[in-house]
Point group: C2
DNA sequence: ATGAAAGCGCTAACAC
DNA sequence: GTGTTAGCGCTTTCAT
């Protein structure tokens, strides 16, 4: 029934080499000694036939597929390619491949994607979804699949958590602005319900307090995570009688929107208005003035995630759900 | 030996529903009729046990894994996430998942990646690698796996080819500049040996000829595919006694480099120097002035690729290796 | 150092 | 409409 031109299988190799399939298997996997002569004959047979072990059969038999699943909202969002690459940096050399699924942040699609990962018998799952309800993950946990959540908040028993140090990063950015002499510092936040908004506000306020500055609530503007959102919020803040000398933005696109407004009003950056972003997307160094920002270490997160996964896959089964926090890095450029 | 907390399998569902595994299988796959009552009992059993079919076992048995492999240089290069997403747009609804491997353009890694795709029994492969030697693909073809090559040049028997219409796009861009009144039009090309350089030069020259303009070879500058490369080449062209009024660049990063030089020399864009790019990366609309460019339809290519793959997977086995060309789209913005 | 045989979970003949 | 049986390609006892 197999509709493919029958590829050589282990039995053919065995036959050609004059040994049993068992011995071929062991020659390949090194789980028990095989005489040098036999091994050589086997290798020759493999070359001659162009044999490649069937990973699917191996996966069925062994109960591990050497595959890990990555569930993300959208690979097109520049954060995720870096994340995926970081994972592969570590997973690839360890012999694992990744299956990537995009969910658009849609809960039903997330549920389906996670289900599919179970069906596919992946050895571990990493998923990056802000709003995932814990219940949606339960099947994965029940299936005994190690899971790492990227960037959410509440940890869940059996699920490791990995995220950027949003609070610390916001504090560092704000501190940097203070250090440069700015006193009235605004914050362009994303929608409160989404992502790491709360942590960043906390960091921002903490830095202000630490410097003996008061945190004026009027200086915090909530808006969308987009260029237009940033422009809109910046416009609002500039209308204040006591307007900010500097703004820290929850992401680079918003910061670019703020820059748009500054240019349009003829405000000199950073002279009359300093702007900081968050993420360090490629565009940050492309705009003029180049954006001072906090680098969201996506690739590093991917690597750390892979290490965690590898750890869980090989032994560290239980454990109470670790939480790992990756620091962001200040990138000094021109806008602040 | 299976180290996972044994997940329910089809036999357990069958037992709980009081039928045979066969019937459960058919209830799930609809390949033969199952009575309504039986089906209901089966579905209840499935729910109760939290059963999910084991795709690995299914793959082994059926000879198809519902997986396709994507081999690319680097998911971090903004072209490829779009490509991957385009593939998933079409493949996802058809029930396929993607395994993505990055090769950094390294030939040995490419060979290994392709090998692994065979081992994993993927149902089809898409690979985007300029320099792949045909021999490296032969094993894939021999294994009977449909393959699509993205963006290379010479077609190969058994391998479909899919790429942007580089020549047409270059002609359209050049034509657009001519139409806007520019007469001395330069071309910032990538390294001759790499990628679609030749095609683009041909399109550029063809458009010039079609307008009765002569193609001055001094106006073609070869350089790297980077911002710095673009700046360097632009600088060279501006040193000409008879310098160009407009330049078409082989990619957006180069065009941004050209823009840098223009700003630095105080040249008004597009008044004193018009600039066009290629690709329409996100940054193109972020720089100032916004870049007029040709949109390289990565996502559309991904979708077309998926359709081709699906076609090959289900029947259209042989065929002499098709070639599909996707047009680029002119994006009018401010720089030309 | 090597083999024989069982079985991972599923689907597809071939019954009835 | 449903069940029995064999087998996909591999690894792993259990033998020798």
């Amino acid at each position: 029934m197999s509709p493919r031109p029958d590829r050589p299988h282990i039995g053919q190799v065995a036959q050609l080499a004059g040994v049993s399939a068992t011995t071929v298997s062991h020659a390949l996997n090194g789980r028990r000694p095989v005489s040098e002569a036999t091994r050589r004959r086997i290798m020759e047979a493999i070359d001659q036939l162009g044999y490649r072990p069937n990973v699917v059969a191996r996966g069925l038999r062994a109960g591990r597929t050497m595959t890990i699943g990555l569930v993300i909202p959208d690979i097109t969002n520049p954060f995720y390619p870096l994340l995926a690459r970081g994972l592969q940096d570590v997973l690839g050399p360890a012999g694992y491949d990744e299956i990537i699924t995009n969910t658009n942040g849609d809960r039903e699609l997330e549920r389906i994607a996670l289900d599919k990962m179970i069906s596919r018998q992946v050895d571990a799952v990493a998923f990056a979804v802000f709003d995932t309800h814990a219940a949606d993950l339960q099947p994965v946990i029940d299936a005994g699949i190690p899971a790492v959540r990227l960037g959410g908040r509440q940890a869940q028993p059996g699920v490791d958590l990995l995220h950027t140090d949003d609070e610390g990063a916001a504090a560092e950015a704000t501190g940097y602005l203070i250090e440069r002499g700015y006193r009235r510092i605004g914050f362009l936040s994303g929608p409160a319900a989404h992502g790491p908004a709360a942590e960043r506000i906390m960091g921002y306020q903490a830095a202000l307090r630490a410097a003996g500055l008061k945190a004026d609530p009027n200086l915090v503007a909530q808006t969308e995570f987009s260029r237009e959102g940033g422009a809109e919020a910046m416009t609002r803040l500039l209308k204040l009688r006591d307007r900010p000398q500097a703004v820290f933005c929850a992401n680079d696109m918003m910061a670019i929107g703020a820059l748009d407004v500054a240019r349009q009003r003829g405000l000199e950056v950073p002279g009359q208005l300093a702007v900081m972003g968050f993420d360090d997307i490629e565009a940050a160094s492309l705009v003029s003035p180049q954006l001072t920002t906090m680098a969201n270490p996506a690739r590093e997160i991917g690597r750390a995630c892979a290490r965690l996964l590898l750890d869980r896959v090989s032994g560290a089964e239980s454990g109470p759900g670790r939480e790992i926090v990756i620091p962001a890095r200040l990138i000094r450029r021109e806008s602040a």
